[in-house]
Assembly symmetry: C2
Homo-oligomer: 413 residues x 2
């Protein structure tokens, strides 16, 4: 008996811990992007609205059981961003229309040839269309934008063709289905666009800005950390900004996806002037430049990973002290220039390039080149292999300056 209570208590505690864990995750998910909560409520609202078709007698009499397709459409079409929702809407309606037309045609053709012939012919067409459409989904160009449409095309074609074999009022089936799909789609789109819309184009824009800022942070922090004197190192322990570059490197797939979805969105608000395509092109350029910049700095991945004490002590102090100043200037000025550019994009005020910072960096580059080529620098080097990393970083920084200059040019355009 006592053991049973013990077990029960343990179970209760475990359940409590699990519940607390779920609540914590929920809070985090909601806090990371509060629009997620709003989106969830919007989906709930759309579903409730659409189920009203069912509860009210007059509406129900019009569509009957087919009203269910409206519910299905809302669940499948309603996406987080406006771009994704519109993309799915267009895909779904176009696919439903064309598949409906094709299956009506196929059905007409099949009815010309007796009872058995009809079944065989319909089965053959289902096989043919099923195979061809499935194969088409492997086309890379179609997969990126029309995968959902192809799926719905296949689905609608099979369902209408197959059910048409039994029901002879095929036109009515196709018509009812299309109307319910349209009702569902428009309910989803209207709620998605009218209540706190999430524009994926704006998100993409934000992502560029964030990546630039992260890069700027990274540069500043890198300079301060890598070329710090040993007293400095003990004071600074916040390396989170150095981690930022990792998420920038892995953002490629997500961003391509976002750019694909953003094409479905109409131009709106402050983006009306630049068309989505133009933003895309500018964006792609910036993004690749930012990444080139990071790769350039990150040349010794392990240097950054195992950052800090062990490498700092290995580096020969003589050379480092001579090149420290110009390197730190380059890092901090380029970092600040990038952050200013990011701020300019954010405010949509693209006409204040940080010319002075870039000029200042260029002067530091000249200074660095002179120092590296001066004979005394190399006199008391003991192990060349120890010097190479720090000198290589310095030479990379020279490349970074020209890269930042290019980014500034692109932003000005």
């Amino acid at each position: 008996m006592a053991f049973g209570f013990e077990c029960l208590r343990a179970f209760r505690d475990e359940l409590k811990a699990k519940g607390a864990d779920i609540a914590r995750t929920a809070k985090k998910v909601g806090k990371d992007d509060p629009r997620r909560v709003i989106h969830s409520l919007k989906v709930g609202l759309a579903l409730t609205l659409i189920s009203l078709y069912y509860y009210f007698q007059p509406l129900y009499d019009g569509f009957g059981v087919d009203a269910m397709w409206a519910v299905l459409t809302v669940v499948l079409v309603f996406e987080f961003s406006v771009g994704a929702t519109i993309g799915k809407l267009v895909n779904r309606i176009a696919a439903t229309l064309s598949a409906g037309a094709l299956s009506v045609g196929v059905h007409r053709l099949a009815t010309l040839s007796g009872e058995t012939g009809e079944a065989i012919l319909l089965a053959f067409f289902v096989f043919l269309v099923g195979s061809v459409v499935t194969f088409t989904r492997f086309y890379p160009a179609l997969k990126a934008r029309y995968d959902y449409g192809l799926l719905i095309f296949l689905l609608t074609f099979c369902m209408v063709t197959v059910s048409g074999y039994r029901d002879d009022d095929l036109f009515e089936i196709a018509h009812k289905r299309l109307s319910t799909v349209i009702i569902g789609s428009f309910t989803a789109v209207v709620i998605c666009v009218c209540i706190c819309p999430v524009w994926i184009g704006a998100d993409l824009h934000k992502s560029v800005v964030n990546n630039m800022e992260k890069l700027g942070d990274f540069l500043e922090e890198f300079g301060a950390e890598y070329f710090a004197t040993s007293e400095d190192t003990e004071q600074r322990n916040d390396k989170s900004r150095l981690e930022g570059y990792k998420s920038v490197l892995n953002s490629k797939t997500t961003e391509e996806n976002m750019a694909n979805l953003a094409r479905w969105e109409p131009c709106h608000g402050r983006f009306s002037r630049q068309c989505a395509y133009k933003l895309d092109a500018l964006y792609c350029y910036l993004s690749s430049e930012i990444k080139a910049c990071i790769y350039r700095i990150k040349n010794e991945g392990y240097l950054i990973d195992q950052f800090g004490a062990d490498l700092l002590t290995q580096r020969p102090a003589e050379i480092e002290s001579k090149i420290r100043e110009p390197c730190m200037i380059i890092c901090s000025e380029c970092g600040k220039a990038l952050k200013e550019l990011a701020g300019a994009i954010r405010r949509s005020n693209l006409h204040s390039p940080p010319v002075s910072r870039i000029e200042f960096s260029k002067a530091a580059v000249e200074n660095l080149k002179c120092t590296l080529n001066s004979q005394p620098l190399w006199e008391d080097v003991e192990d060349v292999l120890d010097v190479i990393p720090v000198v290589a970083v310095a030479s990379q920084l020279i490349g970074v300056v020209s890269c930042v200059e290019k980014i500034a040019g692109a932003v000005n355009e």
Copy 2:
């Protein structure tokens, strides 16, 4: 009239060109992976089989219009690989079951409170479940593996709840729907597994091996290209092997996805011994090592991008000629060692590590270190900035050797 013919001819020519283009893409898509053609035929076959339920009277009498759900299930569940299909099957059945149970429960609860009360209560539950499930889909852990299941859960819940308001034989609806979903799912899985199955675990395995081989090729080619004398350069023009590393770097997302799907697959064939999880772990280690290796070499991205003449002439010949030999040895031996390891994994014969090659590379590293530290090397350097890239590459190669050694160790385990 003549103009009309002209237009028609132009249109015909354009259509022809378009058709040829589509055919060419189709051929390419099929050639890249012939299993795609087989997969398409398999989907066609599954759809044809499932539509037989409709054509044969006795089967039709059992399920009626609901047989359509079987068609829908085949279209939605049938995926390219076994892992993905089983994943969707499990998700779909579990979601349908639990959503059906929940909606029956909700319906019972709602009927307790009059006609109007029922509609309000049902609408409220649709809103609640819709919001909560949509929010749950944002959980990163659930999104990776159960996103489809959550979607189907929401779909089934809404459809059964809403249609239950009209039809009172809710149990029969739920039961019919579940049976048709099960029939559809199993048809899809049986055809997917029995006819030329595509195991995603095997694909993942192949992807590791390919990446290792690409890296090996890259190393060999890099050594031959980068440290080539000017006469050599004119002879070799095939740089496609150098491009290989790019696809390796961008493979991360695809591979994570594959690893996720591979977990659904049962252990089979030659993979039965190592469980999928173990393969995953080994794989992740190898993959990150390979990438670290590439980043290490790729330290000057622009060096490789603008590879060739312009950089080769800039490099000071004196230093290069002195370090050329050990560097070329490291590149070719490490490249070959990696390719041998890849071959060993491919043959599932993991017990022949290329020890001699690694030892040979290590000797070359010692040689390189000595050369770099010898005083005469640095005497007649004019511009240090010209020397840094080539010396940095040499120092990176030293890191590559230890990286390849680690990979060999991991493969042996």
